[in-house]
Structure formats: C-alpha cells, structure tokens
Symmetry: none
C-alpha cells in the first residue's frame, strides 16, 4: 500500500492553544483512499524545521500531505520549505495570480504585494485551486514517485481541497488501490485487561484485518480494520471476526459504529415499550443530557428531576423526610425512594436514580468523596440498588457516575441483571 505522512505547520499548534483537528481529518480521508499513514508531525513556523520534517517524512513514506503556512505573511513558510527540501526554485503560477486578483476585486479589498507571494509555487508543481480562499495549494513532485501535497490550514479551505483535488490525484497516481473499512464494536463495563484476556489471541499479531482495543472510561471499543480492493470484500473479511469477538464479549457489547450507550439503551427500552425517567443528584443532569442527545429520545425518555437540594428530593420526588433524616441523602434508601418517586411522579415505567458525593467537599469517613449510589425502580419489589466508589476529582466522579448509570440502565434494558 502507498503511504503518506501528514505534516501540520503552525506555531500556534505548539503552544497548546489550538487542537489540531486537520491531521485526524486528513488521516481519515487517506485511510479511506487506501493510503497508509504511519506517522504525523507538527512543526512551528520555521523554514528549516519544516524542511527537515519534509525530508524525514520522505525518507519513510511515499509522500507528504501538509496543511498550513500558505498565507501571505512572513510567518507563512511552507512554500519556501518545500523548495528547500526538494532543492527546487519557485515560479509564478499565473492562473492563481489571476484568481487572487479576482477574489480581492470581488471583496473590494486591495491586493497587497505580499499576496503575490501566494502564487509563487515550487517549480513543476501541480497547482490546486482554492475557491474558498486566496492561497492556492499545490502538489510538488519529488524524485521518483514521491510527492508533497500542500494545503491551507483553514479547515473550511483545506477539507474540500483534500476531498475534491488531492485525494483524487493521489488515487490516480497510485492506480486503483485498496480501501480500509473499520467496524467498531462498543463495550461497556468490561475492563481493558479482561478484554485482552478474552480476545487477546485474536488480536495478537493480527495484521489484516487488524484488531485494536481502545479504552475509554469504563468503556472500551474493539476496532476491526480490513484492507481490501473494495468495501464489500473488506466487509466479508470483517464478518467472521466480528461474530467471534461479539460471542466472546457478549455480556459487554452494547452496539456498533455510531451507537452510544444511550442510543442502545433507549432502543432496547422502546422494544419493551418501557418509558424511562431519571432522578439525578450527584450527576446533576448528565444522564438526562446523554439520553436526550439521541434523536427521537422523546419517544422513550419522559424527563428527569435534578434533585440537588434535599427539598427537591422531598417535594418533587416524594422522598420521606424521615428517610432523608435517618439515612442521609447519600444512601441506598434515599436512592430507592428517588427512583420510585421519579417513576411514579413522571409517569414512567422504569426510573434510575443517582445520589453521591462528587467532591471536593462533603466527604466523611463513612461516606467519602466518590461514593455514588444508584437505584433502579420498575415497580417490582424490592427495587435494585448499587453502591460504587469512584476515584477522581469532581469532574471525573461525575463523568464516571454517568457512564456507570448508563451501564446499569443498559444491562437492565437488555434483561441482563446488572
């Protein structure tokens, strides 16, 4: 397979103030076009360093795809660096000059001398039109079959140039090639080492399809990536592996590709004709927010009460004053009462409740920061309740409690006792 490296240019990317989303976008498009990316780099606005990055990339790959540094200012050095790395001069690309003049005329702005610089491309380059901005891109051809494709850094200019011009040119250059299809199997509630234990033999030394495990918090994705001449063949390579992985991880697999724990749970509840309500204390609305991010969630999700103050637990969820008094707000008893209250008050079939201590304050030796209690009530007696000790700062505890709550709901909806 042909390979390319991506080089993003811009000092602002090295100061931590801007997240580089161009590189993953380019990487995704190249993967789909069957071009391998083994490495990416990001360099500041320094001609020597940019040239060095190009030379390093060309020593390992068939080409370089670059973004950034094509503007008109003294900081825009990509053209110069490409010339230096490839040992070529520049030449004025007249159509780009004309196009720029037209753009400036259209916006009634004076075209300055430094804009001319944008039409000076490395000699022998294939120019790339930029109808959405002033800086043209270009593909410079190095010795042999190697190339250096340069695009602006503005995402709105770069993305169409990549899709409409660069990728087709590269596809053509490398002939009909392979494509990569990725299937993501989403799991929840299984540890990374547990997954490794169950399917390690499948992904150890997997090459094509390649299998990778990506751990999130309390969730993990298993990715199967197949390279084949076309998507149908890639799918047929993925299918048997997917079946086997799902068989082994069955108790944790909630969905595929774009599925989320929320969408999977709502789909299961809908198929059971159960409507859902939530009562949240320490998660503060996060579980409701996750559920309502799913289009059509209003069919199944009735609503939620964020019962932060005890008075809200008392009056909106019918938690008895004596229960709050005797067991405290963070207790199984209160969690159960909140779940029952949410279910009955909001007219749902099943309700989940959370109460806990997100921190940093409010912890005691008996009820430390990170203690989170869940209850689930569907009208059967007794209702279910669980206690967890979740590590981390406030944000982490809230996030982990949200995922844990969704995991409990999903397992319930699946008919698998959590």
């Amino acid at each position: 397979m042909p390979s390319a490296e991506i080089v993003a240019v811009g000092t602002e990317l090295l100061l931590g103030q801007l997240v580089d989303t161009n590189t993953p976008f380019i990487a995704g498009e190249l993967a789909r076009a069957g071009i391998d990316v083994h490495s990416t780099q990001c360099v500041g606005d320094n001609c020597e360093r940019i040239a060095a990055a190009i030379r390093t990339a060309l020593s390992r790959a068939d080409g370089v795809v670059m973004t950034g540094g094509l503007g008109p200012t003294v900081d825009d050095l990509t053209r110069e660096a490409v010339c230096s790395a490839l040992g070529v001069g520049t030449e004025i690309y007249e159509p780009a000059l004309r196009a720029m003049e037209a753009t400036f005329a259209k916006f009634g702005r004076p075209m300055r001398a430094n804009n001319r610089k944008q039409a000076e491309l490395p000699a022998g380059s294939v120019p790339l039109d930029n109808p959405r901005g002033t800086a043209p891109g270009f593909i410079a051809l190095a010795s042999g079959e190697q190339f250096v494709a340069c695009m602006p850094g503005v995402p709105g200019e770069m993305k169409p140039m990549l899709i409409e011009q660069v990728v087709p040119l590269l596809r053509e250059r490398f002939g009909a090639r392979e494509t990569i299809v990725t299937r993501i199997i989403h799991t929840i509630g299984l540890g990374e080492s547990e997954i490794d234990h169950r399917i390690g033999d499948l992904f150890r030394s997997s090459e094509n399809p390649k299998i990778a495990v990506l751990a999130h918090e309390f969730r993990a994705d298993v990715k199967i990536m197949a390279k084949a001449p076309d998507a149908a063949q890639a799918e047929s390579m993925i299918a048997p592996l997917q079946r086997e992985i799902v068989r082994r991880l069955e108790d944790g697999v909630f969905g595929y590709d774009a599925d989320t724990p929320s969408s999977a749970t709502l789909a299961l509840l809908a198929s059971r004709h159960q409507r859902l309500a939530i009562a949240e204390s320490c998660t503060g609305g996060r579980i409701a927010a996750a559920l309502t991010s799913v289009p059509g969630s209003s069919q199944t999700f009735v609503g939620a009460v964020v019962a932060y103050d005890n008075s809200v637990k008392r009056w909106e969820l019918d938690v008895e004053a004596a229960t709050l008094e005797r067991f405290g707000a963070v207790s199984e008893e209160v969690a159960r009462a909140m779940a029952r209250g949410a279910r009955t008050r909001l007219g749902a079939d099943v309700a989940l409740a959370t109460t806990g201590i997100a921190g940093p304050g409010g912890g005691t030796p008996e009820k430390p920061v990170g203690l989170v209690i869940f209850a689930l009530d569907d009208g059967t007696e007794p209702s279910r309740a669980w206690s967890f000790r979740l590590d981390g700062d406030r944000e982490t505890v809230q996030r982990r409690a949200t995922t844990t709550g969704l995991n409990l709901l999903w397992r319930y909806a699946k008919g698998q006792e959590p």
Copy 2:
C-alpha cells in the same frame, strides 16, 4: 531555553478516529514551565517507528515527552521502544507492581500476567506514580542531559502525572529558567470580529506579551502570554494590558483563567443571595450539568426539571393544559410558564427555562429545527423571554442553546439586561 518534543503513540490517532488532545495539553504545560516545543509527532503502535521517533526527537531537542502505549496489551510498545532507542534493558519496578496489585484488589478484579508487563520499566528510569490507573509512567535518562518522559494516554491519568510529577522534575533538571505566564480573559456573547474591532490594535504585532484571540461557540477567549525570568515579572507585564482589554470588552467579560460561565453566574447569584432552578426541555439536562460541574454549586443551584414529555411540563412545572394546547410546547408562553413553575415548585428565587426543536425531526415551517426559546422568571412581572434560531445538527443546537442559556443567566446575574 530548554526544548522538548512531544510524541503521542497510538494507531487510532492515525486513522482519523480520535482527535489528539493530549499533545496540545502537554505543549501548554511545557510552555508554562519555560520549555520550548518546536515539533510534535504522532506514531502508530509499531516498536521500530516509535523508537525512530524518539531518536529523531533526541537529535533535535533536550528531551521527549511521550503519551500512550503503556497499557498491558501487545499493542502497548512504548516501554520496549524507549529501551530500543536508548539501548537499555528493562527492570521490574517493585513498588509499581505492589500498587497495581492493590488497585486490582480494591476493585475485586483479577490481575492478569499481562499487567505485570506494566511494571517493567527501562533500566535506570525514574518511575512516575499513577494513582488513577494501573500503568506507571517513567522518565528514562538518555546520555548527557537528555530525557524521555513517558505517560499513559488516558487524559485523566496523564494530566495529573504531567502537572504533579513530570513538569516539576523537568523544571528542577533544567534549573531556573524563563517562564511563560498566560492570562485568559473569557468573554461570552461577543462576536470574533467585534472583538477584533475593539482590541485589534492591541494584538496586531504584539510580541511579548503576545495577545491571541481564540474563538469558541458564542464565546471567545483573549489570551495574554508573557515570557519573563519569573512569574512576578511576567504578571507585571500582563497587568496593564489586561486592564485595557477588560475595559474595552467589559460587557462580555465573565471571568479569568479557570472561570466558566457557570462558575461566574453562580458566584454572582450567591452574592445576591438568589437561589437558582432550571426547567429544560430541548437542552435535556445540559444547563443543569454545566452548573453542577462547579464545586459548591449546591449552595446556589437548587435543582432542575428536565421536562421532555409534555406531561412533565404539565404536572411537574404546572404549565396549564390550555397553554400547551393553544401555543404549543415550543412557545414563549410555555417557556414563561415553565420558568415560573420551576421557580415556585423548586423553591428558588430565579429560574431559567428552555424549550425548542433540536432536530433532526419535529420542525415545521413556523417552528423550524433550531428554534429555541428561553424564559427567565424571578417573580417580577412580566417575566423575560427570548427566541433564537440556532444553526446546526442536533448536538450543535443543544450545545449552542446551552451556551446561550448560560449567557442569559450570567447577564441577568450581573444585573445587565440580556
């Protein structure tokens, strides 16, 4: 100034499926510590390529800061690659092994043989504790003064390890250096071009302190970065600029550095002794989640009702059936009734309500997708209401509606009529 390169490891970063936010975070912390970053790299899970990236980085910089590839699976190759690049063997780091055993025991999970691998560090390394996960980090020392610092890829484990352990060690190693102090001035509700118009003369050609504007959705941050031998000198360079910028943007400045619209709003309401409730329909819990992310929010935030189904608006927020019937759920009248209901039912002094059409379904010519209506009720008559047309897909509309709601709340709390 000492310099470092950042190397992020993970094939998933090269397939376009994950945006690397670790690299900019590390870059920002290193800049603050006065360590220059001239280049960053990202490589897949391939031992030779990781080792090559380390060697390249060490050929140009004083050290390498790495993230990712420290887990227990066969894909986790950073330890091996560091050994290969530096030409050293591994040794078991006993305290890490003990810590891992304790972590597994605490969660009642079996520790598998492959987890042991995580305690095998390059010989002579300084180990880095990882109280939030199982994989310890380490700083391997290369010849001369060079170092290779390796941290996990999970942001929640990496960030505290970087701040609490790696940066202090590097600061010490390189002695007293220049430091960069950054002040962030947070604005909400001012457009980027409005900000440019008001303070453009200050940041054009600013060098030290450098001024930059970073636009978010409906929010923008103005950053002032000063380089000086110590923090006090940097602060004194920042102070006059900060005063001038705040003077010019005053109607939009809600806070500094770690402040959020939620924390600013809650602090203002607390100073006015006003307790807050929320009634959310289309934002589905997001405003409550944003408010409860603030430590101590329980002092001011009473609770919220996520009234997704009309029955919840009717019965939990006392919206009259006739109002729902006559004006529809997405109307100023219903928004006002929801706000009044939340305030009175939850016992708050002021309440904000949202109702709208997040999409993709549910839009009509009169009430299209993206229409979001807000009402604010503090008991004075008439209550306030606003309608917005927000562009974007479901997630974007929900996110923009959340920011808009927080902007309205903040302006109210500030006593500045929204």
